[in-house]
């Protein structure tokens, strides 16, 4: 073996080690979060954590149900707002709009994906919250406000992934459909969208992950009361905000309970990620 060959082998091995950095980081994060969060879950029982509705850390009552329900509500709300708007925009930009308009609007939308989440939260706090308070009643800091802000925040994600998967549908599909006498909308509805379905679904799931995981923007507009909200005009606290709000001063079991919140969040996100990965892999295979 020459010296160069030896060097090359050395390089291959070191690159393999480097290549495992991402996997190792993921493993270390998983281990740390679980190590910190699971002991207290088993000490007080998984049931009381997941189904208990009282969160009084000072009295050792760690029911996470309000936060779980809160996270689900705002995420669902975000999807109701973000998905129709995002899908409609993606369909419009790929199939109906003038090419020049698309070339201008797509980068603008992608640009907005880079705006920090705190800025979205701030805008919500300054404009949306007072608007809701004055027009619909309630404190304004509410499920509704959080849903709208999150819905807007996931728009860029949903739009750009949907655009990519609609564009990936071969033109021959469209031509075939038009040749059969279908209108453009019929073509989109019956041919293009079904063909792009798994990509679009993956985009929606990624948007959902972003909505569940968002923290600072939600804290600013959601009101953060640790109770199950009775209506969409009442304040709500999500899993992420629960961690961020109390991490600064929590200690002992209280801190462990916040890590337990992290464990639940982590599990939910991993399930969503896996589903998104599988659906987009399915589209690639086809």
């Amino acid at each position: 073996m020459t010296k160069l060959d030896k060097n090359d082998r050395l390089i291959r091995i070191s690159l393999l080690v480097v290549a495992f950095s991402a996997v190792s980081v993921l493993a270390v994060i998983t281990i740390f979060i679980f190590e910190q969060g699971t002991p207290i879950m088993f000490k007080y029982g998984l049931r009381s954590f997941l189904l208990g509705s009282d969160w009084y850390p000072s009295e050792k009552s760690f029911g996470l149900l309000p936060m779980i329900v809160g996270s689900l509500m705002v995420t669902f709300g975000a999807l109701i707002i973000g998905v129709p708007l995002g899908l409609a925009s993606a369909i419009f930009l790929t199939e109906f709009s003038h090419r020049r308009l698309t070339r201008f609007l797509k980068p603008v939308i992608e640009l907005l994906a880079g705006i920090p989440s705190v800025v979205y939260g701030f805008i919500g706090l300054m404009f949306l919250v007072p608007f809701i308070r004055e027009n619909f009643g309630g404190p304004g800091l509410s499920v509704l406000a959080a849903s709208i802000i999150l819905g807007v925040m996931i728009l860029p994600t949903v739009i750009s992934i949907a655009i990519d998967s609609i564009r990936a549908v071969p033109d021959s599909y469209r031509e075939g459909s038009i040749a059969l006498g279908a209108t453009k909308w019929q073509t989109v509805r019956m041919v293009v969208l079904p063909a792009a379905r798994s990509g679009i679904v993956a985009g929606i799931i990624l948007g959902m992950g972003r909505a569940i995981g968002e923290t600072m923007a939600v804290i600013m507009v959601a009101g953060n009361a640790a109770d199950i909200p009775g209506s969409i005009l009442q304040p709500v606290r999500t899993l992420t905000s629960n961690i961020a709000l109390e991490m600064g001063y929590a200690s002992g079991e209280h801190r462990e309970a916040l890590f337990a919140t992290g464990v639940i969040l982590f599990v939910v996100i991993m399930i969503l990620n896996t589903i998104a990965n599988l659906t987009s892999a399915r589209q690639k295979k086809r």
Partner: protein, 278 residues
């Protein structure tokens, strides 16, 4: 109810147009509000003075410096790891179980919420490694967060270098590593830089992961181990605690302008890159 296909098409088209306008207008509204209220706050003084009286007075210099330090450390760590991973995945192996595990790890990491990174950084760097709330803890946490972005963009960039480049290099007697460092990487640089710039943007705007690792001390960072407050955290505290709305708008404007510039540069680089390829 039966609608004629042509009428249906017209209705749908109008609806789509309407929805798209809402989406674009809402997003533009955010931009306009921040710039309109924030730009009047900006002055040389705002950028070159340290915050005083909890941020009610003065500028944001120390937070700008902290943001730059943190971002710099994040990229210093994440770039070699990310590019190395990408080189391994594209040049040194074929698709097999190992690459699938690596890719799966990177994709999962990309989906983890920033607050989880914050919790993790707090336990590992701040507590276990005893780095305390510091620029170093924050930077390392951010490095892990942007790692998947760098892997993905570098991989795309390296993959798009034509195979002939490598073959010619091999035929001249170069080793694999020589072909990579002298031929493949130089042609992939614009794509790799795009990923790095995107990561800079993400680091600048991050709050949840930073607030528990770098802390929120409002003073000029003096070393890697001093706790400090980044622009995004400063903005969050100003707005959330209602310290000073004008200063909050000013900080937000600086943040947004920085991110717009970063994205525009990325976009420009990508366009040029795509043009050169075709």
């Amino acid at each position: 109810m039966l609608v004629r296909p042509k009428t249906e098409q017209k209705i749908v088209q109008a609806l789509l147009y309407f929805f798209t306008s809402i989406a674009v207008l809402v997003l533009l509204f955010i931009l306009v509000v921040i710039l309109k209220n924030g730009l009047p706050q900006l002055s040389l003084e705002f950028l070159t003075k340290n915050p005083a009286d909890m941020g009610r007075e003065g500028g944001i210099l120390s937070t700008i410096v902290a943001t730059i330090f943190l971002t710099f450390i994040a990229l210093l760590v994440a770039t070699p790891l990310g590019v190395g991973t990408a080189i391994y995945l594209t040049e040194y192996t074929v698709e097999n179980r190992v690459t699938r595990i690596i890719r799966f790890g990177a994709e999962c990491l990309a989906g983890i919420p920033s607050i989880i990174f914050g919790l993790f950084g707090f336990i590992l760097f701040v507590n276990k490694l005893k780095l305390g709330w510091s620029i170093l803890s924050g930077g390392l946490t951010l490095a892990f967060m942007v790692l998947p972005t760098i892997i993905r963009t570098s991989e795309e960039a390296i993959k798009s270098v034509p195979q002939t480049y490598r073959l010619v290099s091999f035929s001249l007697g170069s080793t694999r590593w020589q072909a990579i460092t002298r031929v493949v990487l130089p042609s992939a640089v614009p794509g790799i830089v795009t990923g790095i710039i995107l990561s800079i943007g993400r680091s600048i705007g991050e709050t949840a992961a930073v607030i528990f690792t770098a802390g929120s001390a409002l003073r000029m960072p003096s070393s890697l181990f001093s706790s400090s407050r980044t622009m995004a955290v400063h903005f969050y505290i100003l707005a959330k605690e209602g310290v000073s709305m004008p200063k909050a708008y000013g900080t937000a404007a600086v943040l947004v302008i920085a991110i717009l510039i970063i994205n525009l540069v990325t976009y420009y680089l990508m366009e040029r890159y795509i043009q050169r390829k075709s």
